[in-house]
């Protein structure tokens, strides 16, 4: 495992349970204890006004809401992998999550494409979640 040279997440206490769940290869999102809505990115309050939530596993399936194929990357570490696909994915539980789509040709990605979450341990202390075509 080479040194991870890309940008790292900023993990404050509010965000720690999410990244811990990624490390366990089972993403959990906050689910509001009051109205039952899942939310992402992690926040301190549900839109219903309730602060109480429970970290709840999600199925890890969803579909592409929108995407782009990046040719001009922000830093050399990312540029080495260009062109790559960044997608906003609506997961079955409701929220949208952003990540790269791996395991297919960039030209195969389209809006509505079913995808599933996969995990990649990129550094001893960091695991990432990515999407790949379902099935």
């Amino acid at each position: 495992m080479a040194d991870y040279e890309k940008l790292r997440p900023e993990i404050t206490p509010l965000h720690e349970p999410f990244w811990d769940s990624v490390k366990r290869h089972q993403v959990e999102l906050q689910r509001c204890d009051s109205c039952g809505a899942f939310r992402f990115i992690p926040t301190e309050l549900c839109r219903c006004g309730s602060a109480a939530s429970t970290w709840t596993p999600i199925a890890g399936t969803g579909e592409v809401y929108t995407y782009t194929v990046v040719h001009r990357a922000p830093t050399p570490a990312y540029q080495a992998e260009a062109p790559y696909v960044i997608a906003h994915v609506t997961v079955d539980e409701g929220p949208r999550m952003i990540s790269v789509v791996v395991g297919c040709d960039p030209t195969d990605v389209h809006i509505g494409m079913p995808v599933t979450l996969v995990y990649e341990d990129v550094a001893p202390d960091l695991t990432l979640y990515k999407f790949t075509p379902a099935g």
Binding site: T66, T68, H71, P74, H88
Partner: protein, 381 residues
Amino acid sequence: MTKQGDLSDRLQADVYWEVVKEALDDAGLSLSDVDGLIGSAPEGLGIRASLPGGAFTDFTGNPLRFHATTNIGASAQSAGMGLAAMAIAHGLASVVVIPTVAAGQAPGYAGADRNDAVARMAQLGSPYEYLWGTTRVADYAVVARRHMHEYGTTEEQLAEIAVAQRLGATLNPLSVNGRRGEITIEDVMTSRPIAEPLKLLDCCLVNQGAGCVVMTRASDVRAQGKHVPVVMLGWGEGHGYLDPCKAPSLAGFEGGRVAADAAFGMAGVTRDDIDVAGISDHFTINVLVELEDAGFCAKGEGGAFVENQATRIGGRLPVNTDGGFLSNSHAGSCGLFTTIELVRQLRHDAGPRQVEGAQLGYAHGVGGVSQVQYGAVYGRA
């Protein structure tokens, strides 16, 4: 405004005073008349950046009565003109300067180093975005892709926006891209992909430059007799969802509608009354989406609106006649250049790119990835 381009060999503070004095001179005023400031003082040591009003007074010897900033990103200064107008209307200030200056060896997006600018701007989101190698272009590319999916918008329609604005830039000697000549839709379509569907010629410039606006009472401008007053008739802000995962839709931005409705409501005019517009154009898709969100056409009809050359000089609604961020300048709080061009148009001082008989102008600007926006209606008084 100064020459737009690479000002890295100059001291930021020198350029700052150059444009402030140029704008005051154009207004028939001097530094000692200034009693209000929007935004930053010139760069300097220590606490100067934190207390711009006091820093400014060090140079004028005339204590400011008013200082404010807004947080509308690249449109902070142009949106700040709304605060300046309120201050003047309430007697809190009489002459307010609103400068923007990107010059010298500044880091990041105020600098002249393109790689550094791209890398730094990429991180102006949340970690849940930039982790994946997003750039500002990618942030807008997903908007373009979604808009194309929902409404059938085409890349050629986006390209027309770049073509229209380059035409204006060729008539603007201060612009960065004017000297590069006109471009065609084919040129845009075949320029290299940056973040699909956006290509190089869909993207704004990365450059330095400076400009300044002076605001005072219309009656004072009229009494002085140097210029026809250009009056702010309406103004509004709209602060939409910050996180893209929280926004109900990425095919548009609710803040744009909120800002435009407020501005038009205050001005008491309709979209059809507008003769010329300045619409933040960090990328071609911005113009299309903002025209929709600001109500110049129905949601989803932006493609058809721009397709028949409506935004060119001589079209139904000329937009960014100076070339905009795509072809004129994308320096500092670049929304200010949008306003400067509208002032020229409404003064009938725009030379070969003059929109004939322009009486009413609309400025619309965005910050971030368009989450926060402002709109303003200006009139020739």
